[in-house]
Symmetry: C2
Amino acid sequence: MSPRLVATYRVRAEPGSIEARAQAIAVEQSVEMPPAAIDTARILAEVVGTVEACIDRGGGLFDIRIGLATETIGTDAGQLLNMLFGNTSLHPDVTLIGVDLPVTLAAAFPGPRIGLAGLRARLGVPDRALTGSALKPQGLDAEALAALAGRFAAGGIDLVKDDHGLADQATAPFAARVPACAEAVRRAARATGHPTRYAPSLSGPHGVMRAQIRLAREAGVDTVLVAPMIAGFATVQALAAEFPDIALLAHPALGGAARIAPEVLIGTLFPLIGADAAIFPAHGGRFGYSPTTCRRIAAAARHPPHGHPPHRHRPALPVPAGGMTLARVPELLDFYGPDTMLLIGGNLLAAGAELTAATARFVRAVADHRPPPT
Amino acid sequence: MSPRLVATYRVRAEPGSIEARAQAIAVEQSVEMPPAAIDTARILAEVVGTVEACIDRGGGLFDIRIGLATETIGTDAGQLLNMLFGNTSLHPDVTLIGVDLPVTLAAAFPGPRIGLAGLRARLGVPDRALTGSALKPQGLDAEALAALAGRFAAGGIDLVKDDHGLADQATAPFAARVPACAEAVRRAARATGHPTRYAPSLSGPHGVMRAQIRLAREAGVDTVLVAPMIAGFATVQALAAEFPDIALLAHPALGGAARIAPEVLIGTLFPLIGADAAIFPAHGGRFGYSPTTCRRIAAAARHPPHGHPPHRHRPALPVPAGGMTLARVPELLDFYGPDTMLLIGGNLLAAGAELTAATARFVRAVADHRPPPT
C-alpha cells in the first residue's frame, strides 16, 4: 500500500453536514465516483481518500484533513496539483490550506537545486539580505531595457529581473532583449566589482522556454523568472531537471489569493517543484496579503516542511515584492530578517535620472541594516 | 498603435475609491509601475492600460472595463492569461468576468480545429445530443479499464474518456492503458456499428503530452483530454497547432469557481486556445454552478464571441458533467438543447454488472428525446 499525503482543506459548511462534505471531498479528490459502486477491495482500502480529521474552527469553518494515496500521483508535478485541488477547486467554499507529503513523495520532486545558499554563494553575499529590482515598463525596446538594467547594476544591486509582463513581444523580443540586458549588467558589474545577476522572464510552452534558457545561458545568464501557475507545474518541474545550473525565480502571477493558501502555493509548492526563490506580494504594498500570511510564506520557503534528512529539500529564498518603497527597508528587514531578497521596482524607477543613485541608497540601506535587539 | 483588447473585472470597492481602483488595475495589468515615472510618450499613449468604463452594479460591486494593448500579448496563450489576470488575480476582491478580443488578436489563436461540427461528423450524429462517460476509478489496472471501456462502447455511447485523475500511474501506465482501451472500444464499436471514441487523459510537460498523443494516435485514437489550467495555456495552444487532427477536450480541473467567471474561462478561453469541447460542472450535480452560469458557459462555447468572418472561430461542444444522472436526461436536454454532450460517469458505473444496459438506456433516452414545444 502506498503511503498517503495529507491535504488540508478549509470548508465553509453547516455543522450537521460537515462529515458528509468531508467524505465527498475525499471521494472527489481520489476515485471521483460513488464508493458503493466500487467492487475492488484493494481500491476501497488503498485508493479511496480518507478523512483523517475534521476540526471545527468556529464561525461555520472546518479544517478537514484528507489522506490521498501517493500511487494516484506518481512523480508528475501537474498531477500532484490535480490530485490536491483539481476538481475541489470548483467548489467555491473550499480552500486548500495545507499539504503534508510523505518522504517518498517529497523525494520524487526536486526542491530548490540552488536555493538560498546557492544564490548567496553566487552573489558572494554570506549574510545580509539581498536586493532586487525589475525592468519595466512594457513597451520599451531592448536597448532601453538594457540601459535600465545597466543603471540598476551600476548601483550595486544583486538582481535585476524582467518584469513578469515582458515575454517575447515585438517591441523587445527575447532574443534581442536578453543578450543586451545581460551584457549591460555584466559591463556594470565589472565596474562595481559586484556580480549582479540578470533574470529574464520565460514565456510560451516548455520547448520555447527551454530554447529561451539556452539562449540566456549563452549570454552568460544563470537565473530566470517563471510563473508556475501560467507555465504549468509540470513545465517548471521539467525545466528544473533539465537545467540544474539555472536558478528559477517563481513569480506568483495567476496564483490568486483566495483558494489555495499563499503559504502553501507560493511558500511550499513552488519550491517543491524546483523554484530557488519565491516572489510574493509583500504586506503593506499594492496587494492585500496580511503580515501573518507573508511571514508564513517566507517561513515555508526557508524551511521546507517535507521529508527528513537526507530527503529534506534545500531552503528557497523568499522575495517580498509589490509596491515596496526604499523608505520601508528598515521595517521590512526587521520583519523578514536577512534570509530575504527585497524586490523594489516602481519606487526605484520613479527616481528617473537618479535611478543609479537611488539603487545605491537601497543597497546601502540593506547592507547597513542591523537587526533589532531581541 | 496596436488595437486593444478589453478585460472586464468585477471589483468590490467603496464608491469613493472605484476610480482609483480602476486606474490601479489598468496600470497593474499593463506597465506595472507608476505612470508618472514613465517618460516615453509612446508608452503612455499606447501601452498603459486605459479605463474604458466603470459601471456601478450596486451592493458595492463595480464592473470596470480595461483596455489593454495587444502588443503586450503577442501570440502566446500563456501571456494572454498573464496580461488578463496575472497580478490582478492576487487581489481577492477582483474577478475577471469578460474578455473582448479584437479580430487581429483572436486570429492569432487557433480556436477549435474540429469543434462541434467536426465531432458530430466523426461520430455520424448530425443532430441529436451526444453521450459520454468516464473510466474510473483510479487504481484499476489497464486491463480492467479496457474492459470497462468496452462495456460502455457496447452500450452505443459516443465518447468514453479517461477520468481526469488517470495520468501515468504505475497501476495503469499510459502506454499500457491507452492501446488496451482503444482496442476494447474499437472491438465493441465494430459490433455496434457506432464509431464510439475513446479519449485518454494527458499529463506531464508538453514533450510528454506530445509523446502521449503520438502513442494514442498509433492506437487509432483521435480525441484526448487535457486540463488547460494544469497543463498551462501555452501547452494547449502548442498541442492544438501540432496535432490538427486530434480533438482536444478541455477539463476544468483547477479552474476554480470564484475568480475568473466560468463562462469566460471554460466557455470562451479554453476554446479560444484550441479546445474542441469544454467540460464543465453541470447545475444540480456535485458542484455549485447555477443554471445561469451553465447556460452562459454553453452559449459561449457554441458562439465564439471573438472576431468576425472570416476570423470567427468554430463553435466548440459544451459538455456538462459532474454528478448527473440518467433520470435527469430529459430535463438536461430541455435545458441545454441538442448541441451538447451529456457526460454521465458515476451514475452509469453504479449499475455494476448492468453497465452496458444502463449505457444503452442513456443512449436511447438521448436519441428519443424531443425538444419541448416552444
